[in-house]
């Protein structure tokens, strides 16, 4: 299963980007129900959304964003076939990115 699913749609002169990322988003405050021990923090800290290599949106997150995060943003412009890239980095330094084209 891909890490990040992206859908970018052009309507009028606005592009709406929607994406879903696979990530546990552990706050570090949750206790394991079996062992009673705290589950270590593991969450996405930064998400960068790019249109044609140009940064449109940078999100900074805490562990308060839900598991398998959903994110949507919009920008002016865009054309069908233009590339959109989403990249995230988490608190362990792990990262992932994916790209798609505007439809």
């Amino acid at each position: 299963m891909p890490d990040i699913k992206i859908r970018a749609k052009l309507r009028g002169d606005e592009t709406t980007v929607k994406c879903l990322m696979s990530h546990p988003m552990e706050t570090g405050l949750r206790k394991d129900s079996k062992t009673g021990e705290l589950v270590p923090a593991h969450f996405i800290q930064e998400v960068v959304g790019k249109y044609k290599d140009q940064v449109v949106m940078t999100a900074s997150w805490s562990g308060g964003v839900s598991k398998n995060p959903y994110l949507s943003f919009k920008f002016k412009g865009g054309a069908v076939g233009d590339p959109i890239e989403i990249a995230w980095t988490d608190n362990k330094g792990e990262s992932s990115s994916a790209s798609d084209t505007i439809s």
Partner: protein, 157 residues
């Protein structure tokens, strides 16, 4: 003899424990990896501390030009869909705060000049509380809030 072994075992587990703490401390300093992630803001237990670190001021002017779309009642606090949209001009950033959470600042979005003042995501809410959206437009901070009733808290325990 038995006692000596016990000592060794204790020493061993203590050492393992301190390695764990060191690793934990390492994780708490993500500044090495990401320059932009604002640790002070995201670890703040209260909204003014989070806001002053994130936006440079501890309060904002209330504006009904900020529209927060969120459910009136969230049955599951682990997944509460939030959309923030505004028709304020010159928006450079949007922050989402769950005022009842242990660390209230959930997310902050930096928007480029071509980005429209719109963000949507899903957040965790520990209990019934106001969701506050803070918008920076020009040099001014604006905010609005919407109460969300949470039936089951979403921060585990």
């Amino acid at each position: 003899m038995i006692d000596a072994k016990r000592r060794i075992l204790l020493k061993g587990s203590l050492a393992a424990g301190s390695i764990g703490i060191a690793a934990g401390a390492g994780l708490l300093t993500p500044g090495r990896v990401l320059a932009e992630w604002n640790e002070t803001a995201f670890r703040a237990k209260d909204i003014p501390t989070a806001l002053s670190s994130l936006m440079g001021a501890d309060d904002a002017e209330i504006s009904d030009k900020i529209k927060i779309k969120a459910p009136d009642i969230a049955e599951n606090g682990a997944v509460v869909p939030i959309t923030v949209e505004t028709d304020l001009e010159g928006v450079t950033s949007i922050a989402i705060i769950a005022s009842g959470n242990q660390t209230p600042l959930i997310a902050s979005f930096e928007l480029s000049p071509i980005a429209l003042p719109f963000v949507a995501t899903r957040i965790k809410m520990a209990k019934t509380a106001d969701v506050v959206a803070v918008v920076k437009a020009g040099d001014t901070l604006y905010k609005n809030a919407k109460n969300v009733k949470v039936t089951i808290g979403g921060c585990g325990g």
